[in-house]
Amino acid sequence: MSFLHDPQFGDRMITLMAALVLVLQIAMVGQRWLMTNIRMFALQSFLLATIAGTIAFFNHAEHVYIAALLTLFLKAGLLPYLLVRLVKRVGIQQEIEPLINVPVSVLISGGLTLVGYIVGDSFYHPEETSAAAALGHNTLAIAIALFLIGFFMMLNRRKALTQVLGLLCMENGLFLAGISLTYGVPLVVEFGIFFDLLVAVMVLGILVYRIGETFDSMDVSKLRRLRG
């Protein structure tokens, strides 16, 4: 298995998986069903964990394995499970109603990807031929695009739960940027982020549940009205 030790092969696999992550992200913007959206997020996180694992393997960076495992268990397993349970418990309407209609949203995410590429391109210096610089080029652009599209998803959606999904996608983008540029931030920070995220989703889950109970709807635009 000689290709397993060829860093170029690893590079190609990472770029390919990063592109798949981007495809999933755009599909999430174009998708109306909440459950499918959550499943897509789980799949995206799984791909991210695979990217982290591949980077760890080809660059012999052992601590990245831990980040990969954490991503796998938390973001591809636990968080989607919590979200699905929340959806079932609140019994909300399953269709997402974006503020801007879907074709235009998809077009905007395409434009945001382009922005990501333009921004990522300015960080690219071909004269530095170290592995990290070469690796960062494509994946950094995709990571910025993920971040921007996640932000756009948060803005574009009315329901609190779907905004949580946007937040998680943004975090995925940050994780990809961190891991592709610097082989992951220090482990303590990584733990901190994961713990933060877990708590955030739990708190937001409770919040969403309370919003649903009090206002009979999860539409955050109705939060303006005061209730005793």
Binding site: M13, A19, V23
Partner: protein
């Protein structure tokens, strides 16, 4: 000249024989996945044979367009089939035109099919034609963008050139631009062949039908020609997908051993793609008609991103 005729004859034979078989395989696999027994894989041949022997009913209001449409659909599909590489990298008609000719010949066939639907003046025909045109108006640019991505990395719009360059750079399909283009083209394939999230190929009892609504007035040999043409078009699009993105095993020349191996690889790749289509069809429900443009918008964006990313990398 004689060599070219022989090549064309061989490929035409392959095209005409494999196309109904592929439809049959998809039908059977779909039925098995839904735990039905389903028809035999040779059922499309039986259907075609039966239809070709039957008499025809032609509506009184129909003009010559009604009779011309089936021939146009069949001939354009077969002509396109001779322009794309199937088992060998050299397509017999590759000198007659590249990818643009392929796209527009398919569009010509579709145009005549829509005219045939309109010609009888029945309300279902007009409905089907207008839907078909709406969908193809978005699917066509998406398809072009995706194909241009491949053409750009091959530096040629000639399909044989494209296949040859894809064979020479065997890891190219791992590039993100190719992957994006492939996803875009796969959605277009689903839309163009009238598969489930867009259209339901199994029934003409639905108000949201597209393809079936257009051909509702056709019967007998004309219907056989249209159905055969549609299955050839499906084969052509699937071939385009497998051979430009995954060119493994394409024979560089027309020798017997090379062709045999190429054919085996080709049929295997087709089978894999058919499995993907079956999975998509089984796991999805049919979309509402007004949601279809959203799906195609995703395909369009994927194609556009693919094209842009070839320039940026």
């Amino acid at each position: 000249m004689i060599v070219m005729l022989a090549k064309s004859g061989l490929q035409l034979l392959l095209l005409l024989l494999v196309a109904p078989l592929l439809s049959g395989i998809i039908q059977t696999l779909k039925a098995r996945l839904q735990t039905r027994r389903g028809p035999d894989i040779v059922q499309p041949y039986r259907d075609l044979f039966k239809l070709l022997r039957k008499g025809m009913v032609i509506p009184d209001t129909a003009s010559w367009i009604f009779s011309a449409a089936p021939y146009m659909v069949f001939v354009t599909a077969a002509l396109v089939g001779l322009m794309i590489p199937m088992a060998a990298t050299d397509a017999p008609f590759s000198l007659f035109g590249g990818i643009l000719a392929v796209i527009y010949l398919l569009a010509l066939g579709r145009f005549f099919l829509a005219l045939g639907g309109l010609d009888t003046g029945s309300s279902f025909g007009g409905l089907g034609s207008s839907r078909e045109m709406t969908i193809s108006a978005i699917a066509e640019p998406a398809m072009m963008l995706a194909i241009f991505t491949v053409a750009l990395s091959a530096n040629s719009t000639n399909l044989s050139e494209m296949a040859r360059s894809a064979v020479s750079q065997s890891w190219r399909f791992l590039a993100p631009s190719q992957m994006l283009a492939f996803s875009g083209l796969f959605i277009v394939l689903i839309a163009e062949t009238g598969r489930i999230p867009v259209d339901n190929p199994a029934t003409h009892l639905e108000l949201t039908m597209i393809h079936e609504a257009m051909i509702l007035e056709y019967s007998g040999p004309y219907l056989a020609l249209i159905e055969w043409g549609a299955s050839i078009k499906q084969l052509v699009l699937m071939t385009l997908l497998v051979n430009t993105f995954f060119p493994f095993g394409l024979s560089p020349n027309w020798t017997v051993s090379g062709l045999g191996l190429g054919l085996c690889f080709y049929l295997f790749k087709l089978l894999l793609l058919a499995c993907c289509i079956v999975l998509v069809e089984t796991t999805n429900a049919k979309m509402r008609l007004f949601r279809v443009p959203e799906l195609l918008a995703v395909a369009f964006i994927l194609g556009a991103l693919a094209l842009i990313s070839t320039f940026l990398f």
